[in-house]
Symmetry: C2
Subunit: 411 residues, 2 copies
């Protein structure tokens, strides 16, 4: 008789996106001509830029010729890409990362989930609301304890992010081991400034904790005081792992590439308090359970570090940033309260008249034919909020905003 | 203080490929003109065929256009690919698999490792010798117990594969929960026939066990009595997960694609003997920790199911099969004993004169300038064997074989 991982049985069914899909489907069935605009999911819509496409094609052609064909590559990624990352993402910001501290992968979703493989039973702190993968993977790993009756888990230390703290997680007054930080944040769209991030690094140094820093939306930062990497904070390499997705940076949501930085200074401990290199453990995990990212994909993403490639992806980011500005302006005119959208593609809208997230979802869908994401899907502290994203087309975004402005929320 | 996964600390350092690389490097440094031929690693060398390349390019072009751009796809893979797999890998063999029982991934290495996520503490049976990932991932998961002083682990049930059983694992006389079977086998090159596979399925049905069936080398099968899928055995869908890599099938070692079949009939149990769908657990794992395979890669591999594509990959397989035949003929002429090479790209050479695997490695490198893989690297029962592969060029393979034939092993 095969025993299943009983931690999985504690997972709460995540109906967020399936419920959105079902409600949308039902509405369209009843209203087949309704001009639905989707501003819900955080998925890019602009095509890959020409320089990336050219590099992608060139690499595919290499695979067509025996003299340039590539079989198994290094599990950790090709040196050509890791070197470009070290140079352009770090050295230019005054941060010194070694090439072999960079691990190329097929996505930060995988890495943020898989990283728990190398850790034992620890106290985990996670912002609420947050990207659901953080909680779910801790449930799977047995770190979460039991579900509570308000949609949380007994052993997770939740860091509430709400209006009173401007959606910035507060440093706990007690010890935790692993801390998930996502800045700029999904779903709230807010970002930690240098001082706030330094407080977290200081806490981790003091407490021998490790920060799992998810910087998936780094390219959307516009303000100077927001660090692009946690390693801009001194000594952060002793206490932080950084996850960097190319999904939003370069429109790679469907092409799949990311990297994770695991500094060699990071230490974990066994139960006898003997220390071990986290880098060595992750390297072993990566080489044992992963076989590298597709060569043409690595060549394609490397092209964003060329002069032309970087200009092209910047233009795409600016297009989305302009959408965010359109949404912000429109919500202001509509008299709705919101957060985010400055250093982030996400706008976190506060429900008017104390409506619940799902009530606002229904209102937007039925009255304005706009699909957003109910904030409660990201955790109990997301209740009463609604996430809009800047990843639509400019035309759709403009049109959606006009509908919002024309709707009388006080009716 | 962050606790590491202490199971990782029980991993034995795997020096196999790094030792091979170091010895090779040292030899080349001392003998820069030695005409080294590599018949060691199981990596393909023929380029991707034209039909695959064309589909790859076409999909990259789709990513260049906003109207055809693909962002996040289904985590489980696109329906177009899953339907082709169901049709061409199963329906044509009389096996009925549902589309949503197919999970597309970036590699069987990942899947055979990650599958343990959904299982609890079970008794694990693994062939010896075997692909090292099976053992290592069980060590990481805490299933293996402690290292023994002869290179094994205390809690793993090893199924010795040696000359006396023609390298076919024997069914244990007691209960085990999870059984790794790889046929055609890496590293021994042997394959289970219908009756042998049926015995395993019968055992699993009887014992409520689950077989983890790795069919990475399926395309190399030439003999009629060797099943291409474990699901050719009646009722196997109640007891088997099948891993199917495209690495050797289509030269995707560097392009990365595979699929895993998790039938809905498969059941696991909690500690109260309540049953749970393994399919549902894996689906949850796959959707939580994985974000789908790169769209162009999925389009590229789908092309192997076209008429032209299937002919092209068949020609590549035949090229490698011809190499295997060259090696077999040559070893016969050289008077060396060996196994495999008929339904497999691997030839498992028995060391003459009771040489150890590493002694034979050194002999081949120093005397014949041929690199193979020491069998002992795959487990203690691999000691005294040496793995050659058919993935080299025909010219190199021919040349290597001439050197072997000209070498006097009795000298």
């Amino acid at each position: 008789m095969v025993l299943v991982n009983e931690n999985y049985l504690k997972l709460q069914k995540n109906y967020l996106f399936s419920d959105i899909a079902r409600k949308t489907r039902d509405f369209i069935a009843a209203n087949p001509k309704a001009p639905i605009i989707k501003l819900g999911i955080g998925d890019t819509t602009l095509p890959l830029p020409p320089t990336v496409i050219k590099a992608f094609h060139d690499a595919v052609d290499e695979m067509a010729d025996a003299t340039t064909f590539r079989g198994y590559g290094p599990e950790q990624g090709y040196a050509f890409l890791r070197e470009l990352i070290v140079e352009h993402e770090y050295r230019t910001r005054g941060v010194s990362i070694q090439i072999d501290e960079i691990f190329i992968s097929d996505g930060s979703k995988c890495d943020t989930g898989n990283i728990l493989d190398i850790f034992g039973r620890n106290t985990i702190a996670i912002s609420d609301p947050s990207y659901p993968v953080y909680v779910d993977t801790n449930v799977m790993a047995g770190n979460a304890g039991d579900p509570t009756n308000h949609g949380q888990y007994s052993n997770i230390v939740y860091l509430p992010c709400n209006e009173s703290n401007l959606f910035k997680p507060e440093i706990p007054a007690f010890h935790v081991d692993l801390i998930y930080l996502c800045s700029p944040n999904n779903p709230t769209g807010t970002a930690l400034n240098y001082g706030e991030m330094k407080s977290w690094v200081d806490y981790a140094l003091r407490e021998n904790a490790i920060i799992l820093f998810d910087a998936a939306y780094e390219r959307f930062i516009t303000e100077d005081q927001i660090p692009h990497s946690i390693y801009e904070i001194p000594e952060a390499q002793k206490v932080a792992i950084e996850f960097r997705s190319f999904s939003k940076t370069a429109g790679f949501t469907g092409t799949r590439c990311a990297f994770t930085v695991v500094p060699k200074d990071l230490l974990g401990f066994d139960s006898n308090q003997k220390n071990f290199s986290i880098h060595a453990l992750w390297n072993r995990r990566h080489c044992t359970k992963f076989n590298g990212v597709s060569y043409p994909v690595q060549k394609a993403i490397a092209a964003i570090y060329s002069q032309k490639g970087s200009e092209e992806i910047l233009r795409n980011i600016q297009y989305y940033q302009h959408n965010a500005q359109i949404i912000r302006d429109g919500l202001n005119k509509a008299g709705l309260e919101f957060y985010g959208g400055i250093n982030s593609p996400y706008i976190w809208v506060k429900s008017p008249q104390d409506k619940s997230s799902w009530e606002l979802f229904d209102l937007f869908l039925h009255q304005m034919h706009i699909i957003g994401t109910p904030g409660s899907g990201f955790g109990p502290n997301g209740e009463g909020y609604f996430r809009l994203t800047a990843f639509g087309s400019q035309k759709d975004t403009q049109c959606a905003i006009e509908r919002i402005q024309n709707y009388d929320f006080n009716a």
